[in-house]
Symmetry: C2
């Protein structure tokens, strides 16, 4: 009962499999992808994921177990030093041009393993086995790989597509709830920018999705991936329509930077960003107040919208530094009703300041939250 989505880009064709039970025959699925029987397999994973899932992961491999390389997960380890240590371990274990890496973990591990595959011996093959909602919905698809600099996130990387993606939704059962909810904000985004039916479905089935119902979760993840695949196929190297995927991200990245990635998860930050973008769109007459209410309610349903502390002016000035901006122009993605969006280049500092102030006005205070929990 898994879903298969075909990705066709000018530089690669591959399949994204989504559903429960995929780990059960992972070895056979990977073997079917290539014709190099002696290819050595290397799993890159982290202690947390491995402690939950190593048994299920390894069960299908039988006599020829893969080499397991573990690194600490977490944004702060998504760095050159981790890549170098992984590359040295690959070399020590005799990885060659035929070897295949398997990224088994969240987006941090997936991005790093894909990048490692892109640069080890100038490019070897890899497979994505994402274990977070964010990685299954978003980061494992599209071919973007990379790591962080001290100067900023994802400032180094490559485009390098996997041989296949196996998103086993069973693995989400051990994911902390806030991580699940934050990842699903990317599906909310998918609904807003390109897929009205997904939006409707997420409205109607919130409880089932959040409870991990197999059918509901598979459908939401698959529809989100399909949306991203369509956009990436149109625009592999991010020069046009692919920018729409950044709805909520310009301000979201600013919030993450202003709070040093310590207060909010990525999805929690872009939830705020989507609300601000929707407000700007409303004032420009691009969405009705009824649409604003539906969008805001859906974002909240997969929330909670988590409070954070930051300075409005700092946030506004940080949006000007977003690396999506070539040279001087400042871009912003705005929804057009529900299921469509557009890129505008003339969002003013004043508009952005108002929209950001509104966020703080509707933000629950710590006292509100304490009361709600009491």
């Amino acid at each position: 009962m898994s879903t298969a989505i075909e990705v066709r880009t000018p530089s690669a064709n591959y399949t994204v499999h989504i559903g429960p039970g995929l780990l059960a025959d992972l070895a056979q699925r990977i073997a079917a992808l290539h014709t190099t029987p002696k290819a050595k397999l290397f799993v890159v994973t982290s202690p947390v994921i491995w402690s939950h899932w190593s048994e299920r992961f390894l069960a299908s491999f039988g006599g020829t177990q893969p080499v397991v390389l573990q690194v600490l997960a977490g944004e702060q380890y998504k760095r050159f030093s981790t890549l170098e240590s992984l590359a040295e371990q690959l070399a020590e274990h005799g990885a060659d041009r035929d070897s295949i890496l398997i990224a088994f973990g969240g987006g941090v591990l997936g991005d790093m393993t894909g990048f490692l595959a892109a640069i080890y011996m100038r490019g070897i093959r890899y497979v994505q086995v994402p274990t977070t909602a964010l990685a299954q919905i978003d980061s494992s698809v599209g071919g973007k790989t990379g790591a962080n600099l001290a100067a900023g996130k994802n400032l180094i990387g490559s485009f390098h597509h996997p041989l296949a993606v196996f998103a086993d939704i069973d693995t989400l059962s051990t994911l902390p709830e806030n991580e699940l909810r934050a990842g699903l904000q990317e599906s909310v985004k998918a609904g807003i920018i390109r897929d009205r039916e997904l939006f409707d479905y997420m409205e109607a089935h919130t409880a089932a999705i959040l409870a991990g119902n197999h059918e509901a979760l598979t459908r939401v993840i698959a529809d989100s991936v399909q949306m991203k695949v369509n956009v990436v196929a149109e625009d592999e190297f991010e020069t046009g329509v692919r920018m729409l995927l950044n709805l909520g991200h310009t301000l979201g990245h600013a919030i993450e930077a202003a709070t040093r990635y310590e207060q909010l998860l990525h999805g929690e930050a872009i939830a705020w960003g989507m609300i601000a973008a929707t407000s700007i769109a409303q004032k420009r007459g691009m969405v009705t107040s009824a649409q604003v209410e539906r969008i805001t309610n859906l974002v909240r349903a997969y929330g909670p919208l988590k409070p954070f502390t930051a300075d409005v002016h700092e946030l506004v000035s940080l949006t000007a530094k977003d690396k999506k901006n070539r040279s001087d122009s400042r871009r912003f993605i705005l929804p057009v009703g529900i299921g469509d969006a557009t890129v505008v280049r003339d969002v003013t500092e004043a508009e952005l300041t108002v929209a950001t102030e509104e966020l703080f006005a509707q933000m629950p205070t710590r006292e509100d939250l304490a009361e709600a929990n009491a």
Copy 2:
């Protein structure tokens, strides 16, 4: 009086310019390559090169000087840590997707700068301005970029073509003579494997070439580059004929590894490798004794063949580890007469052992050298 060679590959088209005086209008030449007038330029160079050539390099830039980033040259600095420091400096100086890097130095700097361009923001543009014979003849052309691991040379990298290559032969005037001679061994190689006329020319004009005569040096470098360009165009990703470029390199790499890169320059090591390959080819009846003599004499003319200390058995076993070997097979490039070569897969350990022992038999001892100098 410079020569322009067009490179056409499935993924990029660019021109390699070779000749004296190219630095004089470098800024204008780079400006003509792109249509992003606000593109920021960054030069990556080293203190040694910059001390000789900064004035000539900067003269053409006038009011908009490039940002200059300096790193120590040398194989031991061709590492992730240098790349990271360069990437952080790019980010601090506001490098964006429109920025252009200029690699100004030898092969170490060229490989690292090309790799940095390949991965900074998932790929920005760069220009090669090579300043060693090896970089002008070989490393700046072909799109291979990379860095070393502790586990081995060039184990990480990317294929990333420059916007153009400007090989100003004037810069070779400050290059130590042993570096010039070692680089020219790659031209000897080009002659042996694919260009009989280049071989003849290098035989007839040794003195002029080594003295840095403009016409002779431009011709030799240009013919060598043209040979490499033809081969790379046929085989961009190194799956077929491009392997011929490795004549002398299987044993050459083993010599470099066995001597920990401390005793010989790369070109000095492959000089020995070419002599060994020629001897194996002779015993197999692929070259006549007259051809062996011509090849050996030409290698010596651009020598001297520099003595080194290593164990024959270690050298032979190291050739089995060459990363050009996929999985189990062991490959070797052998000359076929002069101007042609072929890939064989069945060179035995015994053949290789004999050829390696012959090298030591003809190696001048330290006493011979002391006598020659006396």
